[in-house]
């Protein structure tokens, strides 16, 4: 059986493994983003060694991972703000470090922390961005921003974090990009505005021909939004698969054991959680496969019932709590 999480995503395989589920990912379609053999390090700290994945065009793909696994670094590499130690990234067919102005116009980019020119007012920032984008949709910007009920000469610097994010997201929608790269869009947003944003995002996707690559810490928002998920782990291990395949194939079981050492993650067991009220075991295997595996390798473990999981539970189950 293959390793549960590899640094190369979407490799076909057989059996109930993440790779087999990943094979259900759209292969062969045009890619909006291609990452091949990407390596990056900060000093001696390796972030990725051989990272490979693609974001198919016209799909919504979420990049999920715990803090510090390199999500923001990856966005910076994709937009050419960092030079990788090795490998390459292509965005809309161009090398990420040499994106032409015409291609940049097709990419709506949300920087972590909703970065904006906060010395500008609402009207000034719209006036500033408008001439750069041929398909600029002013009405979309003001539709979102007027909900703040702020005067248009209100400075962005005087806004709350959530208000500022609303302005920044309005600018990205107004740009009407073919590819949206959203780095932690949910930061600072309340639940209501997150829902509103998702409604707008779905409307944007309904136009067709749009691709979204998103990172977020609010995993439950991804459930109704994304087609595929990419799980990034420390050291650059990556697992990419359709969300439906992940929800269907990733399982959580309670278990009991005698006093000996608990089971450890291996080729079949993705994770073991001993922190909760009852010990839990996470796997992509079926009950039968897991039972067989436990009998062979962890005979002291008695498998209990399968537990229902939210997407957030499953995410934590896969990546671990700590």
């Amino acid at each position: 059986m293959q390793t549960a999480v590899s640094s190369t995503a979407a490799q076909p395989s057989s059996g109930a493994t993440p790779s087999a589920l990943a094979a259900e990912s759209t292969t062969g379609s045009a890619s909006a983003i291609e990452v091949q053999h990407l390596a990056h390090r900060y000093g001696s700290r390796v972030i990725y060694d051989d990272l490979n994945f693609t974001v198919p065009a016209e799909r919504v793909v979420a990049l999920l991972g715990k803090n510090g696994v390199g999500k923001t670094t990856l966005i910076r590499l994709l937009m050419g703000y960092l030079k990788p130690s090795g490998g390459q990234c292509r965005v809309l067919g161009e090398p990420s470090h040499a994106l032409s102005p015409a291609t940049r116009a097709r990419i709506g980019l949300l920087f972590e922390g909703h970065l904006a020119y906060d010395f500008m007012s609402i009207a000034e920032i719209e006036r500033f961005y408008r001439p750069f984008f041929r398909r600029w949709r002013r009405e979309l910007f003001y539709d979102l921003v007027d909900r703040l009920e702020l005067p248009r000469d209100h400075k962005i610097a005087h806004m709350s974090c959530g208000q500022r994010s609303q302005v920044v997201l309005g600018l990205i929608f107004a740009q009407d990009p073919d590819l949206m790269i959203l780095d932690d869009y949910s930061m600072g947003l309340d639940a209501g505005y997150r829902r509103l944003f998702l409604d707008y995002l779905k409307r944007y996707l309904d136009q067709g021909g749009k691709t979204v690559f998103v990172t977020s810490h609010v995993v439950q928002d991804m459930e109704a939004l994304v087609d595929e998920v990419i799980f990034l782990k420390r050291g650059g291990a990556v697992l990419q698969l359709p969300l439906a395949a992940f929800r269907e194939g990733f399982r959580c079981f309670a278990f009991e054991q005698d006093g000996s050492a608990p089971p450890q993650p291996d080729a079949v067991i993705e994770n073991v959680d001993l922190h909760g009220r009852e010990p839990l075991l996470y796997t992509f295997a079926t009950r039968e496969q897991l039972t067989e595996h436990l009998r062979e390798h962890w005979p002291q473990v008695q498998l209990g019932d399968e537990r229902a999981m939210t997407l957030e539970d499953a995410f934590i189950g896969l990546t671990g709590k700590y």
Partner: protein
């Protein structure tokens, strides 16, 4: 698109520019009042002796004003870009990065130039009120290295602010200060007349150089 780029620069610089314009007008007014006061309390022969025999510059209040102006314009223009890494926002705009940065510095240096012209014209006019034309022309020629200092201070500060690597930032600051030091070595009139064209030509190297830190910012490893 160009208008949008200039709009942002104007929004960043307008209050700094207003403050600098008031400062320059204030300094010229102070120079006028100072000269008038000297001519009221001293014999004109004595002032002539001080100015042209002892080679004391009666307008040295203006000496560091252009350098201060250049540094203030650069800080007002580029600090907002660098706080929180907002420079990335600009570099994502669908416009060539080098064109963008050059447009910024043309705008910033252009405003500095306007204030320098104001200084030179003001200095000439004020000197002309009290001295013969030759003395007024000499005053402007003597002040030219100071005005070039404004250019050097602007670009030196710009390079240091745009540069992402701290050691290089220090190198840019040191180079800028050394160049400025070269422009403030004189003690009398028109001592830079022969070397100034060469110094001005050397200072033009700042224009292409400003692309380097922007490029490094974009493609940091």
């Amino acid at each position: 698109m160009l208008r949008a780029i200039l709009l942002k620069e104007w929004l960043k610089l307008r209050w700094a520019l207003l403050g600098l314009a008031l400062l320059h007008v204030g300094m010229l007014a102070y120079l006028f009042l100072s000269l008038r006061h000297q001519f009221q309390v001293e014999h004109s022969e004595m002032i002539w002796y001080w100015a042209f025999e002892l080679r004391r510059l009666p307008y040295d209040q203006l000496m560091f004003l252009p350098a201060l102006t250049g540094a203030v314009i650069a800080v007002a223009q580029f600090t907002p870009e660098m706080i929180g890494g907002r420079f990335r926002l600009s570099l994502h705009l669908p416009v060539r990065g080098d064109v963008l940065v050059w447009t910024w510095v043309v705008f910033g240096a252009g405003l500095g130039l306007v204030l320098s012209v104001l200084d030179a014209a003001g200095l000439y006019g004020i000197m002309r009120l009290f001295f013969p034309r030759e003395a007024a022309v000499s005053a402007v020629l003597t002040a030219l290295p100071w005005l070039l200092g404004g250019w050097v201070a602007y670009f030196g500060t710009t390079l240091a602010l745009l540069e992402p690597a701290a050691p290089r930032r220090l190198v840019y600051l040191a180079l800028g200060l050394a160049f400025l030091g070269l422009l403030y070595l004189h003690r009398g009139y028109q001592e830079y007349d022969r070397i100034l064209p060469a110094l001005a030509a050397a200072s033009l190297l700042f224009i292409p150089a400003v692309i380097l830190p922007a490029h490094r910012y974009r493609h940091r490893s």
